[in-house]
């Protein structure tokens, strides 16, 4: 379904905003998108309603405890979903069935079968879907340009280091043997205060599921190739919550892709002490005529001063146009009826790659991506 009017403003419903608010905040960086209502289901727990209400108050828009009612009464065309991961796809399907285009926070889901439902729903109802991603960060745009202009020849190997230098509760081994396992949801709710609650939900998720979409989307964006086979090593190396819930906080993944292209991923939530800023995030690309080394953080400015808080980033990213470009791409996708930067089918393939990596980490074998 295309908008037919390339100047029209899309009225957006924020469909649950229990995690970071960066997705709805990013959506309105583009003048063609306006947030008009926050909504969720009545039967959600109190902490969900409290966060939704808080965001609605912050934005000065109503909070409606009935999603279908909010859609009907507020004339919305776009849903912005930032719920717990296990609800993402169910909400996306309901919104697509109501004829809304969907912008969704990561991960797409913690189950590939749920992703399949979204792919089917957006196709059946002819609406556009975008997974939130970082492909328009300045460094990625530059990497894409260098590759597309042929500076390194045909690229054949893509490597991404994606480390978040954040803590996540008690360090592994720091609790006594008689202490009970850390409850995943309680820990994630607590983590909202410092923004490290990307894994919020009932089902525990490791770093591959929480953050894997970003680096894997980089590889997909730059290579255009699908992943066929995966070999991974995973471990809970840093955080007791991950160890107690049997989900990884450190992983390495080998990706065997179409046309003999090779990819690798190093990913981890490696602790705040491990890097002066958000973490080392880097791309290494080999082509038949050269190589490319990209620091995702650049351009940045270094800032140091007396009494600087210990964990304040010394390197500050700048000239970031990500939010606007993502939404500009999404507006163009709606206008033209095309797929966009990270549509449902591509996102589903990435979720399947993540699942294969998690499975490989458990089985110790090479896993096919299906």
């Amino acid at each position: 379904m295309s908008s037919g009017d390339t100047q029209s403003v899309f009225r957006c419903a924020v469909v649950s905003v229990v995690k970071h608010a960066y997705v709805p905040n990013g959506v309105v960086k583009h003048p063609r998108f306006d947030l008009v209502v926050v909504c969720d289901d009545e039967d959600q727990p109190d902490w969900v309603h409290e966060r939704n209400q808080f965001y609605a108050d912050e934005r000065g828009i109503p909070y409606v405890r009935n999603i279908e009612q909010a859609i009907a009464e507020h004339d919305v065309q776009v849903a912005v979903i930032s719920s717990e991961a296990e609800r993402h796809c169910e909400l996306a399907v309901r919104c697509a069935e109501a004829g809304l285009h969907v912008v969704q926070d990561k991960p797409m889901s913690n189950r590939v079968s749920e992703c399949d439902r979204v792919v089917e729903a957006v196709a059946e109802h002819d609406v556009r879907f975008m997974m939130w991603n970082r492909n328009f960060l300045p460094a990625l745009v530059e990497a894409k340009r260098v590759i597309d202009e042929g500076w390194i020849g045909r690229p054949y190997a893509f490597h991404v280091d994606f480390y978040f230098a954040k803590d996540s509760g008690p360090a592994r081994g720091s609790r006594g043997p008689d202490e009970p396992p850390i409850d995943w949801l309680e820990r994630q709710i607590e983590a909202h205060a410092d923004g490290s609650d990307g894994g919020v939900g009932v089902d525990p998720m490791g770093e591959l599921k929480i953050e894997g979409i970003y680096p894997l989307a980089y590889i997909q964006y730059l290579s255009g190739s699908r992943v066929e086979r995966v070999y991974a090593r995973t471990t809970a190396h840093f955080h007791q919550a991950n160890f107690d819930n049997d989900v990884e906080d450190l992983a390495t993944v080998t990706l065997e892709m179409e046309d003999g292209v090779i990819g690798t991923l190093c990913i981890g939530r490696i602790g705040a002490a491990s890097h002066p800023d958000i973490g080392e995030i880097k791309l290494h690309v080999l082509g038949e005529a050269g190589g490319l080394v990209i620091s995702e953080a650049r351009p940045e400015v270094s800032v140091y001063y007396r009494n600087q808080p210990q964990f304040e980033f010394r390197g500050r990213r700048m000239a970031i146009d990500l939010d606007y470009q993502l939404m500009d791409d999404f507006a163009a996708a709606i206008d033209s009826g095309s797929g966009g930067i990270l549509d449902a089918a591509t996102s589903r393939d990435i979720a399947a790659t993540v699942q294969a990596a998690v499975d490989s980490g458990k089985s110790g074998r090479v896993e096919a991506v299906v």
Binding site: R233, L250, G268, V293
Partner: protein, 280 residues
């Protein structure tokens, strides 16, 4: 004074060995005939030197496989040391020092990119130096080895290792860079901290029209100085030295497991003897 003869210097120019020796009071470069220690390539030359009663520095990458490396002869009165220049690079020494001191906590993830020119096939011996670094930093052999090779020429090889306790390593070696300088990058993520050795950061910029050019901030011959210091100290103290023949054998066994993994398309696991690798 250790008199060192340079019979084969491998990929490191003789002038660099000379420059390194010039910085040491107890090492001098002499003609091979009058040397009491020699830098040689290959097992046969090393064994001949040992038979002649000479100490041996064995050129890195000059032994094709673990069976050949196992033929390296040693005697109590002679020192046989692997000239593993990687271990002695100042940047890698810094990483190894904080790792050994426990500053980084238990090692979790080692990542190495080694990209060179030439386009030749990447052989197991080309991997051995980097695999030796992984074995050294984790302090043991990997328990899982998986590898993929690309292209008919085999000019690119990627190895994925799993170590006991959940540690992991990714190493890729490419020979596909165009003529010019090599690229090297190593990072080690530990439980309490991390260390990054990176050409990307250690780069000066030259503006001479058009795009600026990067000029590597080189580490000079400091690594060779450290290597010769260790060799000379081992000779003077008549003690065993690290890295020695067993480290070379271990690295080549992992490299051979990588080769078998490529053929099988599956990972290999350390067998019950702890001395070899087998499928699945």
């Amino acid at each position: 004074m250790l008199k060192l003869g340079l019979i084969d210097s491998g990929s490191t120019p003789e002038s660099d060995w000379q420059a390194a020796a010039d910085r040491l009071a107890d090492v001098t470069i002499v003609d091979a005939d009058s040397a009491d220690a020699v830098l040689v390539a290959g097992v046969d030359r090393a064994n001949q030197a040992v038979a002649d009663g000479r100490h041996v520095l064995l050129v890195s990458g000059s032994v094709a496989d673990s069976a050949e490396a196992a033929r390296l002869e040693t005697r109590e009165s002679t020192v046989v040391m692997l000239a593993a220049t990687g271990r002695f690079q100042p940047s890698i020494q810094e990483v190894a020092a904080v790792n050994a001191a426990g500053t980084l906590g238990p090692p979790g993830l080692l990542r190495i990119h080694r990209w060179v020119t030439g386009g030749r096939q990447v052989a197991p011996a080309d991997l051995a130096d980097q695999l030796d670094l992984a074995n050294w930093l984790f302090g043991t052999l990997p328990e899982d080895v998986y590898a993929v090779r690309r292209g008919e020429t085999g000019s690119y090889l990627h190895v994925h290792l799993g170590f006991p306790g959940g540690g992991m390593t990714l190493i890729d070696v490419a020979t596909t860079l165009p003529d010019g300088e090599d690229y090297y990058c190593l990072s080690l993520i530990g439980g309490d901290g991390s260390a990054y050795v990176d050409d990307h950061h250690n780069m000066h910029l030259v503006y001479a029209g058009g795009h600026p050019e990067g000029v590597q901030a080189g580490e000079g011959v400091a690594g060779l100085v450290s290597l010769l210091q260790e060799f000379a100290a081992a000779v003077a103290g008549n003690r065993t030295v690290v890295p020695g023949p067993s480290d070379l054998v271990a690295a080549l066994k992992v490299a051979e497991a990588a080769g078998r993994s490529i053929e099988a398309g599956e990972p290999l696991r350390l067998d019950e003897t702890g001395d070899g690798y087998e499928l699945g």
